[in-house]
Assembly symmetry: C2
């Protein structure tokens, strides 16, 4: 097996798909002619903004939690996130009857706190300027014995996220290109494995914003680069380095990394809402921005566009579309 050297292979994504069947939504693939015309291509929007918890993160979380054994389940799970991973783990835990503790900085938005508690998780807050996150994690794990669920650098998470591309390619088997938003690379690595297995020769690109260009820099250098916490509109992409497990897969099997500006992301989000009637969060619209602003040559091609999530506060949205 060519992929045996990597953390996951296509068979892991297929196994994840079986675990997710009937639990995660098989999200729709939507066509919007007005966007096609602007891109000069046929765009197939894989709508993970319509996934449970409003983002692809539920896939990986459920795939990971459903593989815990009875002893692990009894001790609960633990995750660090103020974003979509928090909600993904919280809902997966509730569905599986597992206690979840989610650790969030105490300046996390009230809406995120409420949503995570709404799924039944216990939220522990900490001062991110005073407390070391890793130490807090170890302390909590030592006290409870809970299993830590990483946000991306974990084969179960990566395989789960890859089911996004598996579904898309099953529905549209002849895609030429696939554009995938990337933060830590869980979604990108899983989708790269699935897409290149189902459609050898497909060009998979990761998309990130110019300010948070850790993947782009790492791709050029051929090794993982660490950047400072990026100031970008794409709040789901504030990771500072590609994952240890996700990077090698992407570097070997994907076609490249492209960058979009915050302004391009805002325009893509607006157009998707105005013409496509779909709400994406900024991170989730980066892939569409890459297509609309010619970051990859799509002329006359069929391109899969993963809209990775749609969680944005209404007050912030009002500002973005004003």
């Amino acid at each position: 097996m060519a992929q045996a050297q990597y953390a996951i292979g296509a068979e892991d994504v297929r196994a994840a798909a079986k675990r997710l069947a009937g639990v995660a939504h098989r999200t729709p693939v939507v066509r919007v002619h007005a966007l096609d015309e602007r891109a000069g291509a046929q765009l197939f929007l894989k709508c993970e903004n319509l996934q449970r918890v409003g983002a692809f993160k539920f896939r990986g979380a459920y795939n990971a939690l459903s593989q815990l054994d009875a002893g692990e389940r009894a001790k609960g799970v633990l995750a660090f996130s103020s974003g979509n991973h928090a909600q993904g783990v919280a809902l997966a835990a509730r569905l599986l009857g597992i206690a979840a503790t989610i650790v969030m900085p105490n300046d996390a938005p009230a809406s995120k706190l409420a949503a995570t508690r709404g799924y039944g998780a216990e939220v522990v807050q900490y001062d991110r300027y005073q407390v070391n996150r890793e130490e807090l994690a170890h302390e909590l794990q030592a006290r409870t014995g809970a299993t830590l669920i990483p946000p991306y650098d974990d084969p179960r998470i990566m395989s789960g996220q890859g089911t996004t591309a598996l579904e898309l390619l099953e529905e549209v088997p002849d895609l030429d290109v696939l554009l995938v938003p990337t933060g830590g690379g869980g979604l990108l690595s899983g989708c790269t494995v699935a897409a290149t297995a189902l459609r050898p020769g497909i060009a998979v690109y990761g998309v990130e914003t110019e300010a948070g260009n850790d993947w782009w820099q790492s791709w050029q250098r051929g090794e993982r680069v660490e950047i400072g916490v990026p100031k970008t509109i794409a709040d789901g992409m504030q990771t500072t380095s590609p994952g240890r497990l996700t990077f090698p897969i992407v570097r070997a099997l994907a076609a490249g990394i492209v960058l979009v500006s915050d302004e391009e992301v805002t325009q893509a989000l607006r157009l998707l809402l105005e013409r496509g009637k779909l709400l994406a969060e900024p991170s989730g619209a980066t892939s569409l921005a890459a297509a609309l602003y010619g970051k990859v040559d799509l002329a006359g091609k069929k391109a899969g566009i993963v809209i990775s999530g749609g969680n944005v506060d209404m007050s912030r949205l009002a500002t973005l579309i004003a």
Copy 2:
């Protein structure tokens, strides 16, 4: 045939579905758990906001235009609308190579003018306080010989709109209830015919706003009632009377008409956007409002919710969600 007395029957809707295959989108049916929880029911959202031109209107328009003969096609088509019917007719005409003239009041929003022209139609504007619309229609028809395409009271239009329910029931055959926004009744009558044919015993309700209660009044009286032009947030529902052809079908086969307030519509639109990541225009969210605010007893039931359109200006949306 029990339905022989009515303008259309289920066979007409099936014939329309064949004409629309591969042309109209087979729009997705979306589940949103947060909305289910509020409604205390399983809601199946049939997303006509994701239809071409952003509303169900394309279905009826294409079904009507595709049945014109060569002589009629050569003379073009004519429609009066400043809303979604205009765009539906304009796009259907472009796809079929038919010249379209759309007559709009000269105070119609610039965005609607631009969208309709964008589909290649010629837009004729008139002063609605100075010029009689019927006379203008006759004059234009006399001059060009164009075929007038009515917005709802036409068997081809009604059958086309009914394909919405046909698709929904094919995908979710065991619905107990179906909630359908209604203006002139093209969508409601077509969906009622299709749904009751595929699922005898299903309770189909039309939904309109309290201010524009011409259907509700007509239902109570058992005959068509005319009201003044309603002042309502639902700008797609400013008809003043049920259609001559649409009303008898609905009165005979549907379960009733329910009313929602403008405030309930706004809340439903917000929730659909925030939790469902889907943009509806106010008219298009009336059905969801009826489900969320208990206008029909849905406890423990499976309810189809037709989200009929999503065309709303971004500036107006910013106000609605502020």
